[in-house]
């Protein structure tokens, strides 16, 4: 029987993200994050690495949930966007979207958090078939500190 849900989780050291930015600059940012993600991360001085760390954790959590490790997927095909309320949600495209469709995974919940130098994300994907070209996914933001992640 096909599992009804798939789960992915990831933990990222913010200092590793800061190191990559320092070493590779814009090449790193553009390769891993979408323009919107990068713009959001840069919006508050001093928050860039932490915000990108949470987003990288979300991308890896999706890769784990969809079992994309051996498939070849661009990190930019997994995007974290924010609703007007500040809650994060996922938008998939290209290989990530194909994998979600093939697995019948069409509704995702995303939660992000960070504390000190660590950022984490958890993704729960549910089997719901939605014939849409882009899957806007339900999210559940951890409201710790009441701040946007």
């Amino acid at each position: 029987m096909t599992p009804r849900i798939a789960v992915g989780i990831d933990l990222v050291d913010v200092r590793e993200i800061a190191r990559s930015i320092a070493l590779f600059g814009e090449r790193y940012v553009r390769r891993v994050f979408t323009d919107a993600e990068a713009a959001y991360a840069r919006a508050v001085p001093g928050e860039m690495a932490r915000r990108l760390a949470a987003r990288f954790a979300a991308k890896e959590a999706v890769i784990k949930a969809l079992r994309l490790r051996d498939r070849g997927v661009a990190w930019t095909s997994i995007e974290v966007v924010l609703r007007a309320s500040g809650a994060p949600e996922l938008v998939l495209s290209k290989t990530a979207l194909d994998a979600a469709r093939e697995g019948g995974l069409a509704r995702f919940s995303l939660s992000l958090t960070h504390e000190g130098q660590m950022a984490a994300a958890i993704v729960v994907a549910e089997h719901v078939r939605l014939p849409k070209s882009r899957i806007w996914l339900h999210s559940a933001s951890s409201a710790r500190h009441g701040a946007r992640r």
Binding site: R19, S20, F24, Y28, L68, G72, V73, K94
Partner: protein, 80 residues
């Protein structure tokens, strides 16, 4: 090429062991390389070998060992 790859791994893979103790087919992830560290390895390889890894190569198997990385680089530089 293997020594250049090993040099990049030493600097960027954040391994829990000395890269010199790993065989060419040793599993880098088992040796402690995280997913994020593999991004740094990829970017460093691209800079050192003047290549760009296409999306289809952004998978675990391509970066799992010195041999796997060499195979990928040889494919990307074929015909030069």
């Amino acid at each position: 090429m293997n020594e250049q790859i090993r040099s990049i791994l030493k600097e960027h893979a954040r391994l829990a062991v000395d890269i010199a103790t790993l065989a060419d087919d040793g599993d880098l992830y088992q040796a402690g390389m995280t997913s994020h560290a593999s991004v740094n390895v990829m970017l460093a390889l691209e800079g050192a070998f003047d290549v760009e890894f296409p999306d289809r190569m952004l998978r675990r198997g391509v970066f799992e060992s010195v041999t796997a990385i060499r195979t990928a680089l040889e494919e990307l530089t074929a015909g030069r």
